[in-house]
């Protein structure tokens, strides 16, 4: 109920929602209030009612309850839209990666990856694809643990009906089969993005930070080799938007990540496999020896903390719960590229 919450400062604003800091009047607990904008596109009246993106997010968050998935505390209608009451989060993984004052040890990276993969495995075991995995959707809770957020693009998969839209994920984290126009894909698209995040945690910069789709793909192939080389994902040719790149051979990961342990690189290599059929699943990844080997993952409470959101200077650094600010590049911003609108982009929503 709306009366139960006080709305505080604006934390971040995106195309589809604004996130405010809030408090629960009954308990005084901090919350984040995510106000989905009413649909303005359909004319003054709003012809579509509640945005399907918001509806997906509510529908799925209502179901997914997991220690590494953001908790939907409550929801209530407001004017022509809906407000989601979410757990309040102090920061996000992007802020951690970018904060030059923080040192991430091998154990810290392992801890983040373990929590992230646990959240993904929980989604996948319930037939939910996240489809918008990137560091600033991995929020950091006050207790230091990682929580997966922003389910606006996620959906249920595995139904015999319907193809899915391939216009999902921010380009830097988009799996190669999606670039090539695959409309039937599985949970390993999320695993690809998790692999990109692991690479980013190790390098402290995005792994495939291309300026445009083609540029991202060329960076992917520069690391993983082009499809077809050495029997690597020959089926790619059959995808509708397949593009032939100048043939390159895969680069040994060791060359890019000289400091990483070999078990870490083995797991990374299995997550960043071009062929979706050969890519490791989130559940398998969790069973990889990397997580059992030394050093053990850092307990969340001991992970390095970036500046708290409220301490951060306005407009810079650690911002964004969910739909906060977007990364400066790539030009095709994740938000504009992603939205499966009914008409328009042509890929529209899967029926």
């Amino acid at each position: 109920m709306a009366e139960n919450y006080i709305r505080g400062a604006l934390l971040g604003q995106g195309t589809f929602a604004a996130v405010y800091k809030g408090a629960d009047k009954r308990t005084g607990k901090e919350v984040a209030l995510k106000e989905i904008f009413p649909d303005e596109k359909g004319g003054a009246e709003g012809k579509k009612g509640l945005d399907p993106t918001a509806l997906r997010e509510i529908k799925l968050l209502r179901e997914l309850q997991h220690e590494h998935i953001i908790r939907l505390v409550d929801a209530y209608p407001k004017k022509k839209s809906v407000v989601l009451v979410l757990e309040f989060m102090h920061s996000d993984l992007e802020a951690v990666i970018k904060d030059a004052n923080l040192v991430l040890s091998a154990a810290d990276v392992k801890s983040y990856m373990k929590q992230l993969l646990q959240a993904l495995a929980a989604c996948h075991s319930r037939w939910v694809l996240h489809r918008d995995l990137k560091p600033n959707n991995c929020l950091i809770a006050p207790d230091g643990s990682l929580k997966l957020a922003d389910f606006g693009l996620s959906r249920v998969y595995g139904s015999p009906d319907g193809r899915l839209t391939n216009r999902v994920f921010a380009p830097w984290y988009r799996a190669p089969e999606l670039f090539f126009g695959a409309r039937q894909y599985t949970a390993v698209v999320d695993v690809w993005a998790a692999g990109c995040i692991m690479g980013e945690l190790l390098l402290r910069r995005p792994l495939f930070d291309g300026m445009c789709d083609i540029d991202v793909l060329s960076k992917v192939f520069a690391l993983c080799g082009t499809p077809g080389v050495e029997g690597n994902w020959p089926a790619a040719r059959d995808l509708p938007a397949f593009l032939q790149f100048t043939e390159t051979r895969p680069l040994p990961l060791r060359q890019v990540f000289p400091a990483a342990s070999s078990d870490a690189l083995d797991l990374l290599g299995r997550m960043l496999v071009l062929d979706p059929l050969k890519r490791i699943s989130s559940a398998e990844a969790l069973r990889h020896p990397y997580f059992a080997n030394n050093p053990p993952p850092t307990p969340p409470a001991l992970l390095p903390r970036p500046m708290k959101r409220e301490d951060a200077p306005l407009g810079a650094g650690a911002g964004a719960a969910g739909k906060g600010r977007e990364r400066p590049s790539p030009a095709a911003s994740p938000r504009s590229a992603k939205m499966p609108r009914r008409s328009g982009l042509g890929t529209a929503s899967p029926h």
Partner: protein, 263 residues
């Protein structure tokens, strides 16, 4: 279907017989009998099915909409919330939840086609969507017995004719309360037993191998059987309008002040 049945639908969305008995208290005060209410429910679920068919929507979307409709009236009354609008809003919301997006305008046109007396517009529909979301407490994922039935049919290995009947029984089951009362696998099993009974197939040995509460299955079969004779004389549209207008006026004139009528 999504998520884990046991920690969502099962714990939040099944109701007891007693809860069901208590619903529509105000309607009953204003003169509707339990039979009336039952028939109105059947009428509107049939309307959802018809509208869905006209729009070429999948059966699952219609099934979800019917469940929304029934759940919405667990805490509401016909006299306060007009089911003639609610059923269309249920279908609209179900389309979104089941990823079969549909323009509200389009739906309104078809609703008018189906029932020429339908007096609402897009704005009413969208307002009702919000009301509905709140009354459903944002629980939008519905577990339907269709997948369960497919699995049971292949496991029991019954003939085509019997399987056809079971599917039919399942579609009919939405006119009863079983989908509110029992989990999907029990409903699916009930439909299969009903079909087997009418086709003379003996499933006793197979049933005994299953680890389910056969008492519940029997209850489903009984509810479904009860559906058939009574339903042959379903309620006509005119009778339905008459009853709804009646409780609507009675509610307005009673002006009890205990709550405003929402459309």
């Amino acid at each position: 279907m999504a998520a884990s049945y046991w920690d969502s639908h099962c714990s939040r969305n099944l109701v007891s017989k007693e809860q069901l008995e208590c619903s529509h208290a105000e309607d009953r005060l204003l003169g509707l009998t339990r039979e009336h209410i039952q028939q109105l429910n059947v009428y509107f679920c049939a309307s959802i099915a018809e509208l869905a068919k006209q729009l070429k929507l999948r059966q699952r979307v219609a099934a979800t909409a019917m469940i929304y409709f029934r759940r919405a009236y667990l805490c509401n009354n016909f006299c306060r919330l007009d089911p003639r609008l609610v059923y269309v809003a249920c279908l609209y919301l179900a389309c979104k939840a089941e990823e079969s997006l549909l323009a509200a305008k389009h739906l309104v046109v078809h609703a008018k086609n189906l029932r020429p007396k339908w007096t609402y517009d897009v704005k009413d529909l969208l307002d009702m969507e919000m009301v509905l979301l709140e009354d459903l407490d944002f629980n939008l994922i519905v577990f339907s017995p269709y997948r369960e039935l497919a699995r049971l049919l292949s496991d029991a290995g019954v003939e085509q004719a019997c399987a056809q009947r079971a599917w039919g029984a399942l579609n009919d089951s939405y006119r009863s309360d079983v989908n509110l009362l029992y989990p999907p696998h029990i409903v699916a099993l009930g439909c299969l037993c009903l079909a087997a009974g009418s086709c003379g197939v003996d499933l006793t040995a197979w049933l005994q191998r299953l680890n389910v509460d056969l008492g519940q299955v029997a209850a489903v079969v009984a509810e479904l059987t009860a559906l058939y004779p009574q339903n042959s004389a379903g309620m006509g549209a005119d009778e339905c309008h008459r009853l709804l207008d009646l409780v609507g006026t009675r509610w307005d004139s009673s002006a009890s002040g205990s709550g405003e009528r929402r459309r």
